[in-house]
């Protein structure tokens, strides 16, 4: 999963308006009040210093009292971190990021301050090569059970038999369509791009992300999502330049536009697709029958993590199926863990957005590390955006 820098904002536009309206009505939650006034942090710090809320002693290693995780927006059940704090005394600071490139940029610059983060499959080999992530000490993760994981989704966390990352969830990249505005049923990327230049003129969004925007343009011609071949990329570029004047926006923050009815069609990740469809039933999620992207997000620990014991403790906590199931219900992306799938309600497992039919899944490709870091594709995207 990667998104625009805008997703990294401290609050989403919808949430901001929600809170504003709630404040206007005079209703404000205790947590909001404490958060807004900073009293929450102050109280927590005071309580710890004075010893009103003693930190429970935790096994052999001291976990400290705080740690920081880098992850994606709307990706966790906030209650998870509250509960973790209750159990261990460790307060979790959540850093929300927009794209894998941004995370990589921050880690490369050093001293990110994270003790845990959530990279996507294709970045892990790069992290390993740069020597900035920790080979995981599996003894510290008793809640993780590799035999219960579907290897199709989890293989990229392990390099040369050393596990660098364990999976959080997987998903796909398809497109969302407002079927009230665009009634003609669509099943392919070819139809997506053609519709963008016809009925969807001025109402279509593509990601501000080279991996998916170029990848799905390649799919128009049936080429590989990961193609680095000059002639194939040239054709994808020609298509993108032809579509450009018809677009509503180049942005990975597509929920506001789709919800407001300004945009009628957009490239879309599973969890956003599930959330949009849940709230606005006429928004459908479509996987191109030509294929496209499938992805897995992992948990990993940076080598320079300031609080490794807490990083391991939180990771182990998140691997507990009872905890993970709540995470999946909150974020809407499917799980890689058979133990979690057993706990998920039937309507979640039957949701075709989350668990698409096998014939749609088979042609999907995982993004490749080379595709992500290829300077040629980055320049292609820049030419598309500046055209």
């Amino acid at each position: 999963m990667s998104k625009s820098y805008r997703d990294g904002l401290p609050i989403s536009p919808e949430k901001f308006v929600d809170q504003l309206m709630r404040l206007k009505r005079g209703s404000i939650g205790r947590r909001d009040f404490l958060g807004l006034t900073g009293l929450g942090i102050a109280t927590a710090v005071m309580a710890r210093e004075i010893g009103i809320m003693p930190t429970p002693a935790f096994a052999a290693e001291s976990l400290g009292d705080r740690m920081s995780i880098a992850t994606w927006p709307n990706y966790h059940d906030p209650q998870t971190f509250e509960n973790f704090k209750k159990d261990t005394g460790v307060a979790v600071e959540v850093n929300v990021f927009g794209s894998n490139e941004e995370m990589l940029a921050k880690l490369q610059a050093g001293a990110s301050g994270w003790s845990l983060f959530v990279p996507t499959n294709y970045t892990i080999s790069t992290y390993k090569k740069l020597g900035i992530i920790e080979p995981l000490d599996m003894a510290k993760l008793p809640n993780f059970d590799g035999t219960q994981e579907d290897p199709r989704f989890t293989a990229e966390g392990t390099i040369d038999k050393v596990t660098y990352a364990v999976p959080k969830n997987w998903g796909t990249t398809g497109f969302a369509v407002n079927t009230k505005k665009l009634a003609k049923p669509m099943t392919s990327w070819k139809e997506f791009w053609d519709t963008a230049m016809a009925e969807g003129d001025g109402r279509t969004m593509v990601h501000d992300y080279q991996l998916t925007t170029i990848g799905n343009a390649l799919k128009y011609y049936g080429y590989s999502f990961n193609s680095l071949k000059q002639d194939e990329l040239a054709k994808a570029e020609a298509l993108l330049l032809k579509v450009k004047p018809h677009l509503f926006a180049v942005s990975s923050d597509y929920q506001p536009g789709m919800r407001a009815g300004d945009a009628w069609m957009t490239m879309c990740w599973t969890n956003d697709g599930a959330q949009l469809h849940r709230d606005i039933p006429e928004i459908a999620y479509v996987l191109g029958k030509e294929g496209g992207e499938i992805w897995t997000d992992f948990y990993a620990i940076p080598k320079d993590a300031p609080n490794k014991p807490a990083g391991y403790a939180l990771l182990n906590y998140l691997m507990n199926p009872q905890v993970a199931v709540k995470e999946h219900l909150a974020n809407g992306a499917p799980s890689t863990d058979a133990r979690v799938n057993k706990l998920l309600p039937k309507e979640v497992l039957d949701n075709p957005i989350l668990y698409p039919a096998a014939d749609l899944l088979t042609p999907l490709e995982f993004g490749a590390a080379a595709t992500l870091t290829d300077p040629g594709r980055a320049e292609l995207m820049a030419r598309f955006k500046s055209a």
């Binding site: 990589l104 490369q108 992300y209 926006a249 009815g261 300004d262 320049e379 820049a382 955006k385």
Partner: protein, 287 residues
């Protein structure tokens, strides 16, 4: 005498020290770092690796469109701001009742207390499908699209930068000697020629200050075009964000940043020259 002068100099230096330190730490050092990056190479996995080459500068034409778009956006945006700001400043300085002036000035400044990002998001909702278009649909105009258009970008820019334009013009108008206006009228000038020959001319330093201030900030703008324009037009600011955070080509990003700084300096010098020429000896003291 000598000792006094020394003490005076020492005191001056002492008083200037915080500002100088601030300049060195936040302006000079980062600038040097960026200059060093700009002659380096992109490391294979992205980022920077040491080298000495001007290849990045030679590659600048690859972002020619971004430069061109920015060079168009900055003056057009500043001009739009000026057209809206001047009447407001004029009213505030010369026409508004004295007891209202402070309140009206506060109204100009107060929006600045909220982050521009927040305010731009607010416009996204006003212009988006659930804002004005919903009202228009209610009275019968279906499917009107306001967001992600050039007009929305211009509106956002005028809204965001207006106070920066109003205040300098207000200050120069406020200092205007009213007796000159009377003299002009006594000598038989029409209100229009008094405005053009006296008021406007004497407020030009303020206009130039506001114009160059807004224009320089617009040279680095990327947020408003991204949020209200749909990110379809690429500016230098967007190019920088992409190069540092997406393709992680720090040297190329640095070369563009250095070029942008140089362009800004040229704009400032030009503004200074123009201002000096049109208004006699008074100068815009920005650099």
């Amino acid at each position: 005498m000598h000792g006094n002068k020394f003490r005076h100099n020492f005191l001056t230096a002492l008083l200037l020290a915080p500002a100088t330190a601030w300049l060195v730490v936040f302006l000079v050092l980062p600038f040097i770092a960026i200059a060093v990056f700009s002659v380096g190479e992109r490391a294979p996995e992205g980022g920077y690796q040491a080298a000495f080459t001007f290849a990045q500068y030679a590659n600048l034409p690859a972002r020619a469109t971004a430069f061109w778009n920015t060079m168009l956006l900055a003056p057009v945006g500043a001009l739009a701001c000026l057209l809206v700001a001047y009447p407001v400043a004029y009213y505030l300085a010369l026409r508004a009742p004295a007891r209202w002036r402070l309140i009206l000035l506060a109204l100009v400044v107060i929006p600045f207390w909220t982050s521009l990002l927040m305010r731009t998001y607010a416009w996204m909702y006003v212009l988006g499908g659930r804002g004005i278009p919903a009202l228009l649909a209610y009275i019968g105009f279906e499917d009107v699209r306001l967001i992600n258009t050039p007009g929305a970008v211009l509106l956002g820019i005028v809204y965001g930068y207006l106070p920066l334009m109003i205040l300098p013009i207000y200050v120069s108008l406020e200092r205007l000697d009213r007796r000159l206006l009377e003299a002009s009228a006594d000598l038989g000038a029409t209100p229009l020629s008094t405005f053009l020959g006296v008021t406007l001319k004497l407020s030009l330093p303020g206009v130039m200050t506001g114009f160059s201030l807004v224009m320089i900030l617009l040279l680095g703008e990327y947020l408003i075009p991204t949020l209200l324009g749909g990110g379809k037009v690429f500016f230098i600011g967007n190019a920088l964000v992409d190069l540092f955070l997406q393709s992680r080509n720090w040297p190329f990003g640095s070369a563009i940043a250095i070029t942008l700084v140089l362009v800004s300096v040229v704009v400032l010098i030009a503004a200074n020259r123009i201002s000096t020429r049109v208004s006699g000896a008074r100068r815009v003291d920005l650099i």
